[in-house]
Each structure stands twice: as structure tokens, then as C-alpha cells.
Point group: C3
Chain length 153, copies 3
């Protein structure tokens, strides 16, 4: 349980597996790929970052929101794999920042998620990434992140 | 033809395969995965739901728009597979609701599509899903839905 | 080097591999699929198309922006494969046009990218595509395009 130990050392904890907010599943596995549903910044049964980055929320707030979205991705992987050490590499990240007119720093915001994955998995924590704006996200969330992850066979 | 019979019993019919509105293909197959192009709410050669959910259109309208987008996904699968019974599971859904400022009920809208897939395929009809807002969709469509589906070998 | 020769004959050149603007990798390979990060319209170390299509920029500008995004996808593939002739088919394209209220011609804009891929690879250059609006893209880019490409084994 190397990865979970690292998380603890960083003072972070896995959120409970978020209950789907609609008719979908948290993850689907095909071969060694796990497709993870879009994750909003939820913890302790509550959305943690609601607002518009560049308006109500700063880039720093957005980064923390992205980190909480990322922790939910890890919670889904933990539920799917039993052990986070079985992750081989992050393949694809599709991510959105709810943002104000003229805001252009989406990569910096989503780095809040990628930094966590990199600290845990090194180079394998980085993915082919898309990080752009959205006019609105579910329940006013500041960030939403979807991922495809390759795992050990 | 179990699935098509179910569709008939629900009083629904597959739309004609939509003509691509640009330089793309309706679907690509790699191994047992079918990648389906983004589907707008078209039927009988006409866009059925044009408008902004939360402004011109209600959540209920949006759900019906999502269902029409979903029917087009099925039409593409039918053209690709010949028989909708060959679908094994829905893997990934990436979906957008054209919505007004402050609208946050994207999952409820896209449930109009997922409900159809679930009624047809049970648990296998659910996918790892992203359902968020878009400022604008092609031709003013209310919804657009892209999918990756696993099929029998 | 058939494809690169075609590019030259069209008077186009591959841009330098864009430096990631955050914590991600340009591409990830899983089996014979290459997942490519979202590409903005950069060349010569500079963003070429900044603005809002339908407002500051015309559809024709947007198409040229999409072509530059597409050239960056090719640059990533070249770095990954060594030879662009090893591309088997374009599988999936997820693409965004930064656009004004009421703009609905996203497919025409992204055709600027797909036209290039088609001119180079024929039918295999077309993908299952999503082409929609975004309220904002990184650094004010007019277009951003992500792709999944199948390559020779």
C-alpha cells in the first residue's frame, strides 16, 4: 500500500466513494483500462468548491478544487482495484474549469490534480490532458475531471 | 433482435443514420470498442431540440433532447453492428447540455439518454459518464452526446 | 516519408513539439492507440489564433486555427512514432471552438483540422468526432483539439 501511505504522509485522505448523481457508474473496465466518470470536488458528502474561477474563486482555490476532484478519482480507483499500487499509468485526462469570461489559466488550475498524481506516481501520474473552460458544471462545481487509467493485468 | 423489439414496445423508433455535418465518420471500431461521434438531437432529417436549457427549454425538454441524441447513438450502433443485441456494455459517455448561466442540473438532463440505455441493456447500459454545460452546441442543439461502447467479439 | 512529403507539397510544415503548458505529457501510448493531449493553435513558440470565433474571428480564421491545432497533433505523432506513415487511422477527435453567444458552426471550424487529416490520410484521416463550443480556452485560444489515433503495431 505504498501509494496510500504517501497520501497519508501528505496529510490527505481518500474521500468516500461518491454516490453517482445520476444514471451512471463510477468506472468501467475494459481490458487493463479503467474509464472513470467525471469527478466534481466532493468530500464528506458535500461539494467543497462551488463558484466561478476568475470571479468568486481564485486560481489557488481552483487548484484545491482540482485536487479534491483528483482525490475522488483515486477513491474510484481504490474501489475498483482494492489497491492503488496497481495503477500503471494515467493515460488521458479530460478536465473542465467553470470560469469567468476572459479566464485562460485552465492548465494552472488543473495542475492541482496533476501535481497530486505526479507526487504519488511520478512520471506515470501524468496523462495526455485536456484542460479547458466550461460555462457551467453540475451543481456549480468549480472543476470536473474525467480520466482513463491503465492498470496492472 | 431483442433490443429493437424493446424499443418498439417503448413506442420508440431508430432515426435514420444522421448524415455527418462535417468531415468525420459516425463511428470508428478498434478491437471490440466502438467510438461514436457526438450526436445532436436529430430525427426525420431535422434538429428536434434547439434552445438553451434553463432559458428556452425546461429540464424535461432537455431530457427528451438527450433521449433523441441517445437514439442516434443507437442508430449508429445498428449501422455498425447490424444488430443492437451485440452491444456488451456502454463504457464511456461524454455529454453536454447547452445551458443558461447558473444552470447546474446537467446530470438530470443527460439521464434522459442513460435511462433509455438502462431500460434497454440493464446495468450494462450505464457508463462512466461526464455530463456538463456548454455555452454553445452545433446549430443551437440542446444536447450533444458522444459514447464509447464495447461490443461482442 | 510519404505523409511528410505531402505536407511539404501543401506548403505546410510541422511545428516544433509544443512544450506542455502544465503537468501533462504530449501523448500516452496503450497498445496501438496513441492518446494525444489537447492542442492549441501554436507555431514558432507563439499562439497563432487568440480570440472568439463569431466575434473577433471569422469561421475562416477558426478553420485556420483548427489547422494549426491539427499540425501540432501531427508534431506530437511524429515525436512519438518517428514517422507519420505509421498512422493507421484517426479514431476519436474531441474538439472545441471558443465562440460567441449564438454561434453554431463548430463543425465547419473544426473541418479545418479534419480536412488536413483527410488530405494526408484519406478516409483513415476522419474520426468519430465531437466539435462544440467552449466559453473559454487556455490563453484565449480559438480552438483546442484532442485526438486518439491508431498506429501500426
Amino acid at each position: 500500500m505504498v501509494i496510500e501511505k504517501k497520501l497519508q504522509e501528505m496529510g490527505l485522505e481518500l474521500p468516500e466513494l461518491p454516490a453517482p448523481s445520476g444514471l451512471y457508474v463510477p468506472a468501467r473496465r475494459v481490458g487493463n483500462l479503467i474509464y472513470i466518470a467525471g469527478q466534481t470536488p466532493d468530500a464528506h458528502g458535500k461539494r467543497q468548491f462551488v463558484g466561478v474561477v476568475g470571479e468568486d474563486l481564485s486560481i489557488e482555490d481552483g487548484k484545491r478544487s482540482a485536487q479534491v476532484s483528483a482525490l475522488n478519482i483515486l477513491a474510484v480507483l481504490k474501489a475498483e482495484l482494492g489497491d492503488l499500487d496497481k495503477v500503471k499509468q494515467f493515460v488521458q485526462i479530460i478536465s473542465y474549469v467553470r470560469c469567468s469570461k476572459g479566464f485562460g489559466d485552465h492548465p494552472a488550475v488543473i495542475d492541482g490534480a496533476s501535481e497530486l498524481f505526479k507526487n504519488l506516481y511520478g512520471e506515470a501520474g501524468l496523462a495526455a490532458r485536456l484542460a479547458i473552460g466550461a460555462n457551467e458544471l453540475p451543481g456549480g462545481s468549480a472543476t470536473e475531471i474525467m480520466a482513463v487509467v491503465e492498470v496492472e493485468g
